[in-house]
Symmetry: D2
Subunit: 358 residues, 4 copies
């Protein structure tokens, strides 16, 4: 089950310390300009080792296209992308190879498969998300053809929340902060916990602009359901909100309803989705990332022999996964939207007549 999407379908492979990670993207329509540098540019955004706010693992994350592109255009056949791992320090994991790091997937992978690649978390490592970002770049390219833009940034760090959302600014910020006026506080919060050997949680905001009304395959591949799955499936995410989000459970209908005039909606509590289908308004999403489980404080845990052990972690880790997570969230949302765009193509007889004539 290492794939997602129905028509625009991505299958990924790879472990943190294996030979390579990568993906196959199936269902890309033919005729799309695929620019290797454009993909690289997206991948580079989540590349490790760039700032003091991210892990110091150094990877060039050089992304190669193995198939599916000819003379600069997609041909309709699968596009395979590969990123070879370069900076594995597997020795960092020798001392924890038989124990389960708290709040990591070590324990659950072991329970499920009885065997596990303990090096860097193996498949459960966030390193795998580089493949998602690479695939997401192609989705974004497709969406842009239809003027659809997926924007994202860091909304909150440790409870310090943005008040204004400036997605342009986020692109230039070391921590992808949405609100310049909060950025310093947010950075400080990160560095404070980092110094303590601790980590911190954060919240990411994703906005889709210009998605046409009508996207989403109701019951049960609804747009909101698909987005929730795509986002909750990112490493460390524990909550997903759409539009008003958790706040809806406190509101009255008269407060939450989005009335309309002849032109448009007068508010957007719905976050751009009604009945699982896009309304044409902005799609607004909040994604809550837990603090990195890899901390440098002594912790107690269990090992494979069912003994209680105390241990101190080594290795290189992000103090706040929400930061690079914002790039991954952007990619996942892009992939969902691209899939919905394709799926919707056959929703009406009229659409089919546009393609096949009458």
């Amino acid at each position: 089950m290492n794939c997602f999407g129905v028509k625009f379908r991505v299958t990924t492979f790879g472990e943190s310390h294996g030979n390579a990670i990568g993906c196959i993207i199936d269902g890309v329509p033919s005729g799309l300009e695929i620019d290797e540098s454009y993909i690289q540019n997206e991948v580079d955004k989540r590349k490790p080792g760039l700032t003091k706010f991210a892990t110091q693992r150094k990877e060039s994350d050089k992304t190669q296209i193995l198939s599916g592109v000819f003379n600069g255009l997609s041909t309709g056949v699968p596009i395979a992308l590969v990123i070879f791992n370069e900076n594995q320090k597997s020795n960092d994991y020798e001392n924890i190879k038989s124990l389960f790091r708290p709040s990591h997937a070590d324990f659950t992978y072991f329970k499920k498969y009885t065997i596990r690649d303990y090096r860097g978390g193996g498949r459960s490592s966030a390193r795998e998300t580089a493949a998602r970002v690479a695939a997401g770049a192609i989705a974004k390219k497709l969406l842009e053809k239809f003027n659809i833009y997926v924007k994202s940034g860091v909304f909150a760090i440790g409870g310090i929340e943005a008040e204004n959302l400036d997605f342009e600014y986020a692109n230039t910020s070391e921590i992808f902060a949405l609100d310049k006026t909060k950025e310093d506080q947010q950075k400080e919060a990160i560095l404070r916990v980092k110094k303590l050997g601790d980590s911190i949680g954060g919240c990411v905001f994703v906005k889709v602009a210009n998605a046409p009304a009508g996207l989403g395959e109701p019951l049960y591949n609804k747009l909101d359901a698909a987005l929730a799955a795509a986002l909750m499936g990112i490493n460390g995410v524990k909550a997903v909100e759409i539009g008003e989000g958790v706040n809806v459970s406190r509101l009255r209908g008269s407060q939450n309803n989005d009335q309309m005039d002849e032109n448009s909606f007068l508010s957007n509590h719905a976050g751009g989705i009604l009945g699982g289908i896009s309304t044409g308004e902005d799609i607004n999403l909040k994604v809550h990332f837990k603090p990195t489980p890899s901390i440098f404080l002594e912790q107690q845990t269990q090992n494979e022999q069912n003994e209680s052990v105390k241990f101190n972690l080594k290795g290189r880790h992000d103090p706040c996964i929400a930061i690079r997570g914002s790039i991954v969230a952007n990619a996942m949302v892009s992939l969902v939207l691209a899939d919905m765009l394709l799926l919707n193509a056959s929703s009406t007889l009229e659409n089919l007549q546009k393609i096949y004539g009458k």
Copy 2:
């Protein structure tokens, strides 16, 4: 795309005011006792018309088994269930047939399909969820064979939150309240808005007890991703939280990590899921339902001719969809767990050897 699940797969059909609603459940292992009255019992929990906290539409919701059960046991072939509609009052919808009720799916279905069954919201009506509850009953039956129990109840209404979670009590409460000491306040909040012609939001808690460690198909049919999709896809849900939920984005790793001793986890911030796989701890979920969009206050909206119109709703509606939504959430979680149980059966060579011998 009206199906969900991979091996334990449910496909539903039906509209609010059509002839019938129902479902086909595929992948039920042979040999499971299927008791029509047990299914009916689950369906009756979300039946309309029972209390003043629910819509006054009267439906017997008599659920018939059309196939797949022989001599009281599942035979491994598809189980079809059907519920004929009885109490359609389609005339209630004549005055709104060409306009889009605010925060309903009227607008988006029209945009997607250009044609729509406007009677009671057609397919987008919560009436369809009766089919999910019927299917969920079979999932629950399967789970109980393995001592897995899915429990649910109303956690909050309009911000009035439970402090203790008593799932036994919830079963007996008219509003499925989890906390008896908050129930009166919660009821009062509902009746207050109801009297005003308004509605109110609520939050549902779902707990899975005794799920074995190892369930979930990581990347990308993770347990958390699948649960998020299943829950976000319920009518009116705008946020899903697992374990600490939105709160994780405020915590430090040292606060949020679940350490272990030789026996078990020492806390459960993770809500029973790590790396998309169950840990063996309770799975804890919060689901936020928006206030019913159907309110009886005058509202402004658009019609199919792109004109701005004011209108007053008629019809019979729940003042708080979270109440009956708690039954639907329970069913959806049960369906996800059943699917994961089946999918996991082939996760190791050892499992296969237990079945096929060596």
Copy 3:
């Protein structure tokens, strides 16, 4: 796994002697005229009890639409169809309830599920194919919008082969014979074996006219692969041929290649499919049905207690399943083509631009 198709997806349910059989058809584009009498007309073609060449079981096969159609048009939501069983004579099966009829699925269902509905073969009965024909009627309706016609008839009975293919004539023939000049011989062959208590095999020809070039999702949902699965999955089918079929293994490239001039192909050995994609030429298929396994001669078999037993069958059976099988084959091919038509809608960026503008 009781569904097929990706976008135009059919899920069926029901057993020979259960309450009902039926299906859910998902993915029908909105705006298609759905005429109940048109569906009934297709279903009636394979209805039992009409001639001496078919089983004498009497079923009205009245097909009801339960959902998905409003004001005579598909609305884009699932269309559920149900046919209640009426003429079950389950007593006919009492004497064989614990034995495995030779060349029936009794043995394999028992091995797979350990439990089985022995009445009339349960789910493995060809009765289930009525649901496929009902679904196929909707597919045909869609295809006709694009001038695509799926035609079929009986090509051979017991080795007596048609020399001319007249699909118009086949529609009027009691045995759906394609060649009027062979019909009497073919009928005679059937009646001869019937009198002996035996049965006979047959071959069905299906032709798709006017399918546009470009249908088929190569690697691995090729048009030919999907057709082969759809046809081989019909009860009693043991071989599927496309174009030259088995004969290709005897030919040279210079004999089998289809050259072209500026207008079209100069021959059609390929049977309308190259590389898994339609060429625009007629799609030609041959489907080989085994003789009905239900014969009235004494046979030896095994029972559930692993004893060898001799037995004589009772019940009502077709002497030649290819006859009604030709209607089922037609439906299955129609369903595949409808799915491919929908899937292909997003194959090029140009197609998407026709739908979404820009």
Copy 4:
């Protein structure tokens, strides 16, 4: 749609003259010994350039494992395999870049995608099948754990048919001939047409030994349907037969039925499958390959500008694709069986109880 299988799922990528071909195999249970040399051994069987009966293209077909294997064992996560292309002679295709080779997929890919990688047929090249063989090697490894063996060989060339099937011998034959006494005639037939610049068709036999009864997911992922799709989807295949195959349409029930005694079936006309489920007998399949469309005789065709042109092919081509096709057919059958083995694991409550306890 470049994947097949449900639980044991393979997704392939790559074109004849692109950078690489390869695949991701998802769903391999953890704990299986994965031996790179074992995979290579299978891949080498269909490697080009080995004999005068195959194309002279020289490829080492070195297969690398990129993920999913740790310490020699599968870990349950996706196994990615890659084969870099080495001996592309794209210049061979310059003169045909704008024309459609007769009976090739050039025309249909162009019609579907409007763009195509004309070099060596791009994605439609049989070169892609190396990835299937690599994936098939892992499936075979799994099957062997359960004593299931998939055997294959060349049954007929140009109508010269084997009379005895010796699968051991086939492994040692340059043309994988099943019958040593026919091998010389078959070779001669190939060399005769090769000398003329022509090609020849052939028929491959695949036998599965020791498949347990109960495999196959009836309606509609039947074992026979899945095998038919897998085999018909191989380049150049135009007919698939199971058991008696096309011959069934000539037989009577009394001739074709497989009676049983207390131990087993007394015959195997069914070819090991009844009702879409394995019987436990040998599964017997015949696969008919057309003659290679690439011949060196002058042919007439159309070009992209819709003109009629005559042309003479260059390049390196197999005179008979059935030979290497027998290895591909073997792989495809192995993949289907592995998938069915996994899918069947949850078919009964009893199976689940073996895994999860009671």
